[in-house]
């Protein structure tokens, strides 16, 4: 029996081995490579040179740090809009829509399986001059308008559109974690709707909501195609700078340094939020 117990205790780590080895080769090693590359001199393609901080100095003397600020700003705006857009739907999915919730969830999932450049291209066809929206307005109502394409607002629309499921699903998970009995009890004790929302719903749904914030923020900071396709390159997000350094400029060390900076920002957020939550309760362990 003691033998069986010891065997059982080994099962966990044993089953973790394939994933762990794979992520070591496929995730940790490449990131380590990027980190080492960021300390190499400019425009080198080898890892075995004297390290230095030159690339980081270049970022802050050039305009790349502005790109990082743009990315952070756009992501923050996106996340705030998503919170307002998604909360009513998450609430509906968890409490009001009943058996229709499944169908709605499926409908919100399908777009995830279509590459984002294709979906954003659909928005171009919608908003372009003589496109679906302006063409309809013109032929039905005789209204002629300038196209809204290639503006900052359009980039935000694209980001809200692409990252909506990443806010909605964790949020729904969070809202459905609030027990109906607790809400009923609060109402019975004379709490107003607003009080129940602030004192019961929000705090109890917080784990899901925070994960939704984190996921959509982190992905939005790394957004690239939205600005390229819908923004007409009016705004250069940090990932665009990184891509240019890697491809067009052939300056891998500089690109790596920018990637490291982005990783540090992202990792800070992820660690701050994930540290506070127990994943078992969120994912439904009994």
């Amino acid at each position: 029996m003691a033998d069986l117990g010891r065997q059982r205790a080994r099962q966990g780590p044993l089953n973790a081995v394939p994933v762990a080895i794979f992520l070591l080769i496929g995730f940790a090693a490449p990131l380590l490579g990027v980190i080492i590359f960021s300390f190499m001199p400019e425009r080198t393609f080898s890892l075995w040179q004297a390290p230095g901080l030159g690339n980081y100095a270049t970022i802050f003397t050039g305009t790349s740090y502005l790109s990082l600020l743009w990315s952070l700003g756009l992501a923050a705006v996106t996340v705030c809009l998503l919170a307002v857009i998604c909360y009513p739907i998450a609430y509906g999915l968890a409490r009001v829509f009943g058996r229709w919730s499944t169908l709605l969830t499926l409908l919100f999932t399908i777009p995830l399986f279509v590459s984002e450049n294709v979906r954003l291209y659909g928005w171009i066809l919608f908003f372009i001059k003589n496109g679906v929206m302006l063409g309809t307005l013109k032929s039905l109502f005789g209204i002629e308008m300038e196209s809204w394409l290639f503006t900052e607002g359009m980039i935000v629309l694209g980001m809200v559109y692409v990252y909506l499921p990443f806010m909605l699903f964790p949020m729904t998970l969070g809202v459905s974690m609030v027990p109906q009995e607790t809400r009923d009890a609060a109402f019975d004790l004379g709490a107003s709707k607003w009080q129940v929302f602030r004192e019961v719903d929000l705090p109890l749904a917080m784990p899901g909501i925070m994960i939704g914030f984190l996921l959509s923020f982190v992905l939005a900071v790394g957004a690239l195609v939205e600005a390229k396709v819908l923004g007409g390159q009016r705004v250069i997000p940090i990932v665009h700078d990184i891509e240019l350094a890697f491809t067009y400029a052939q300056n891998w060390p500089l690109g790596s340094a920018m990637a490291v900076l982005l990783m540090v920002v992202v990792a800070t957020f992820v660690l701050l939020v994930l540290r506070r939550f127990d994943l078992d309760t969120i994912l439904g362990r009994r």
């Binding site: 490579g33 450049n117 003589n130 195609v225 439904g284």
Partner: protein
């Protein structure tokens, strides 16, 4: 009807209206693609004057497109098989067993999901270059896996959480070998999770652009091809192919979900 009931009704009507409006918002681009693909003229002007499916025919007859589909489907199939295999064990470690490093392991598994994919693609490009791996659709399989294995692990884990370990114990007590328990108890019970995991793996690989962009080398997947055509100027072939890949994703996903539901019904 009491005022409270009426207020309740109003509130759920508003919630419904809002949710449906957002669903419409989610599908406006797909609708625009469909409209743009159904014209016979070279340029897209709405309202459409010359409806037709000429561009659909042209796209389906193109050999170039056949090769693209073959590449995309091959990548997605291989990714599915490898991802589900690795993630099955990963999910058992994630959700089934109690062990010392589990909480840290769970967070490490999630990290690639919380990582900007374009940056991951570039990091992998640099890594493949450093170890001297030649870029082709095979390196893209590896790149897709880095992101998809964690997602599939998470999907299967959700099923594993509701798995009752007593079932395995009972089989062991009745004298089943470890292999028998895996084959007769664990795999059948976890089947819905494995199936959804496979579905997600295939579809996420099928629709992936940022990882493919930097890691396919000379080979091209459907999303990559669409991007190169999009930036080169307008051709109705793009809406056609975009609509096709959206439809494939929708049909596979809804069909797969249907299978899970039917199977659940047949069992109960």
């Amino acid at each position: 009807m009491s005022p409270a009931e009426r207020a309740q009704r109003w509130r759920s009507a508003l919630l419904w209206a809002w949710a449906l409006a957002v669903v419409v918002f989610m599908y406006l681009p797909a609708l625009s693609l469909l409209l743009a693909s159904s014209t016979s003229s070279r340029y897209f002007i709405f309202p459409i004057t010359k409806w037709g499916f000429d561009w659909w025919q042209k796209t389906f007859n193109s050999i170039e497109i056949h090769i693209l589909f073959k590449t995309s489907v091959s990548i997605a199939l291989i990714v599915t098989v490898i991802a589900v295999t690795i993630a099955f064990f990963g999910a058992l470690a994630f959700a089934r067993y109690e062990w010392k490093g589990r909480s840290i392991y769970q967070k490490i598994v999630l990290l690639p999901i919380f990582f900007p994919q374009s940056v991951l693609g570039l990091a992998l490009l640099l890594w493949f270059n450093t170890i001297g791996l030649e870029l082709s659709w095979k390196s893209a399989v590896f790149a897709h896996l880095v992101w998809i294995v964690p997602v599939v692990t998470l999907v299967i884990s959700i099923q594993v959480y509701s798995f009752d370990p007593a079932l395995e114990e009972a089989a062991y007590d009745l004298g089943a070998s470890r292999w028998q328990v895996l084959k007769e108890v664990t795999l059948p019970v976890l089947f819905p999770g494995l199936f959804s995991g496979a579905l997600f793996a295939f579809l996420l690989s099928w629709g992936n652009f940022p990882l493919s962009l930097f890691t396919t080398g000379a080979d091209t997947t459907v999303p990559e091809y669409l991007y190169s055509k999009m930036v080169a100027g307008y051709t109705p072939g793009v809406p056609v192919l975009g609509t096709v890949s959206t439809m494939i994703a929708a049909v596979l996903f809804l069909g797969g979900y249907g299978i899970i539901v039917l199977r659940r019904r047949a069992r109960s």
